[in-house]
Symmetry: C2
């Protein structure tokens, strides 16, 4: 807000923060990845936890897919351009990011559809148990999918607990599977995955983890932590593009015993035999259903190329440091306006986004967006900012918080154009 | 095969056919649509029933989606670029092609996933009936999906009949739903949809139709023929691109009573309320599951633009005429080599592809492909050629059949490079 004078103490605060940010950005070993993205001058994408920015490699790949593979290769590209194998080749790019091995991950269908496959497969492995244990405020689609399964299969019922602290106590011998997010979509709270898995195993239940807010930002080791099933979205920190296909991992100890009901022809052992009986492919390929959406899948494949060069410990460290920097600066500059911190202060329990409570948060986020600072709002009062370590620098954070501060100071969120009730998606 | 002399009678045959084709192409009211596609000189896509050629409009659309909507609009494009509504706006482009009304079709997920939704929804509407009636040699994924549902839901069983002539007799009061393709994927036989639906209704069963080989080539009227559910793929005659998302239609008489178990957040009545309980959206939006794959969906949207200008009766007539021309020419030139006609001769019962039996069909198709003539092979002995009316002319057909004739005459399919057992996808 040009022309509006901040209070002197705040001006000092931001001047100091700017200097510190400049130093941190200069020393950032990940800074070079910024050039791998198409970033618009004047815009800061602090919603990369919802839709990641576009890697440059996607443009060239789409030109190849359209200009050659589809238009010239035609049907031959299923083999010749590797389309048929893409669910697995793209899966192999994701595997090292989550602690999985090669050949253990496939990509295709939406996060919701993959959840359905995994929950149904878990139920099939525990035929004597019919309860699905949910967390009440997990991302809604996870619970909706569980509800869809309970509606479809007589005898299956749901049990929802409010806090995951109560999970261990709620897992009894009726529970077939627990369904939980590793990083909470609103608060960014990171669950103690290993401990919850131990409790589930001790009670004989299987675990289905949603890693949507984890992958590409937060450390996770599905094998080491004893997960049974894991799924995740790829359009957040993996930057696969709007609605990019999701992935699915199943423990190698279970995979050959699993059956999942979305048994489409692309997951058949010999799809081109055109036999009547479904016979699942070996390993994780059996979690592929129908023909994959190749344009979206190829874009994701290109978006993932840069991850081979990313040092994951550096990435995770920057995520912790930059979210802490964000929270500190908001707390010091905006707490006086009634802004509260909703994300964990303990960096080891915090994902890569930060959440702040403010009653008029929706209007504030609109006022920020009008300045090119893109975050989002989650009902009822959460202002949410994603800090994608590959393309968000400390300078971006200072600019965003300074803008937030000015909006609160001048109540410019109260202007007519920022009112209304429509939720920012 | 240069240097090989055809028998004089065949030379006359092809000369006459070429002249006739030239006349027909000159008079073809659909010929102008050829320019709407990227067609490669020297290549004839006679596999448009498997992967349609690329409409030029797709390239410009992808440039817009990448260069502006994703990279600049970021998350705002869910509203600002219409992404959120795409399942329905693309559905509205398909609706008139199948006899459906506006607001009755949604697009997203694969054909297999959409079949799952519809079969499950049909079972939920007939809780007292537990049998799914299938056709034994329907396209495999249709039967695989039914098997997946039967595995998942205790009490559901499958009944498969060999020929659809036996369908009416097999529908008793245990049958919840029949699952059938309108146009057979191998032979192109067109089922008598209205008669089968009458038999199903009389017995109290619901119908789930797969229109994958119908849409964009063969007349169909889902409402007029009394269908209950219909799904279809969009990468064949609709030219949506490899693995383009499928569509789904539900009879308006049923839709408000249906529940489908892939109840993802994008089909929720108020997805951004983030409520615990799933409440389906009104109308066909409830058949949307998770976040749609926007790159693939936007490409399909662009590919469908030209259909607003297509005269459907002209399209259907050309499909009948050109497949008949194809069959006649093969029969007259290739029957002596042992090639048999597997598609119906009655044009009113034939889809837009033609199937011929030949023991070494796989090798023949490879030899054709080496000349840029792309068809496919379906086990055990079917040489299959799709005749997409918008970009395949009569001259293309003559060229393809003449090449087929020469390959058979010289047994050039017997050369080492065409041997092997890998199935052409």
């Amino acid at each position: 807000m040009s022309g509006v004078a901040a209070r002197p103490a705040d001006a000092d605060l931001f001047a100091t923060a700017r200097a510190e940010a400049a130093g941190r950005d200069a020393a950032d070993p990940l800074a070079r990845f910024r050039d791998a993205f198409v970033l618009q001058a004047g815009t800061i994408n602090l919603d990369g936890n919802s839709l990641g920015s576009m890697p440059r490699a996607v443009v060239a790949r789409m030109e190849r897919v359209l200009g050659s593979e589809w238009s010239k290769g035609l049907i031959r590209s299923w083999g010749g351009a590797g389309w048929f194998a893409l669910p697995e080749t793209v899966g192999d790019r994701i595997a090292p990011l989550i602690g999985a091995g090669a050949g253990e991950v496939v990509v295709g269908d939406s996060t919701s559809v993959n959840l359905f496959k995994c929950i149904a497969a878990a139920l099939a492995l525990r035929p004597e148990r019919r309860v699905l244990l949910l967390q009440e405020d997990n991302f809604p689609t996870d619970n909706y999918i569980a509800q869809g399964i309970a509606d479809m299969v007589p005898g299956v019922s749901l049990r929802a607990v409010k806090s995951t602290d109560a999970f261990a106590g709620a897992i009894d011998d009726s529970v077939a599977a627990i369904v939980l997010s590793h990083v909470h979509y609103r608060t960014a709270l990171v669950e103690d995955m290993a401990a919850i898995n131990r409790a589930a195993r001790a009670a004989g239940a299987l675990s289905v983890w949603d890693l949507s807010h984890t992958t590409g930002a937060v450390p996770v080791d599905v094998a080491g932590a004893g997960c049974d099933f894991a799924i995740g979205c790829t359009y957040k920190y993996l930057n696969g593009g709007p609605g990019a296909p999701a992935y699915c991992w199943v423990s190698p100890e279970l995979i050959e015993r699993t059956r999942q009901p979305l048994s489409g022809w692309m997951g058949h052992k010999t799809p081109f035999d055109f036999s009547f009986d479904y016979e699942p492919a070996t390993a994780i390929r059996r979690f592929v259903c129908g023909t994959p959406q190749i344009l979206s899948l190829a874009a994701l494949d290109a978006a993932l190329e840069l991850w081979a060069e990313v040092d994951l410990p550096q990435l995770h460290q920057k995520s912790r440091d930059s979210t802490e920097f964000f929270i500190d600066l908001v707390e010091r500059s905006c707490a006086a306006f009634g802004v509260t911190v909703q994300s964990p202060r303990d960096g080891s329990r915090r994902g890569s986004h930060v959440a702040f409570g403010y009653e008029n948060g929706l209007q504030v986020m609109r006022a920020l967006a009008a300045q090119g600072i893109i975050g989002d709002f989650r009902t009822p009062d959460t202002m949410r900012f994603g800090v994608a370590p590959l393309y968000i620098g400390y300078g971006d954070i200072v600019r965003a918080v300074a803008a937030l501060h000015d909006i609160l100071l001048t109540r410019s969120w109260d202007r007519a154009e920022f009112r209304g009730t429509t939720v920012v998606t």
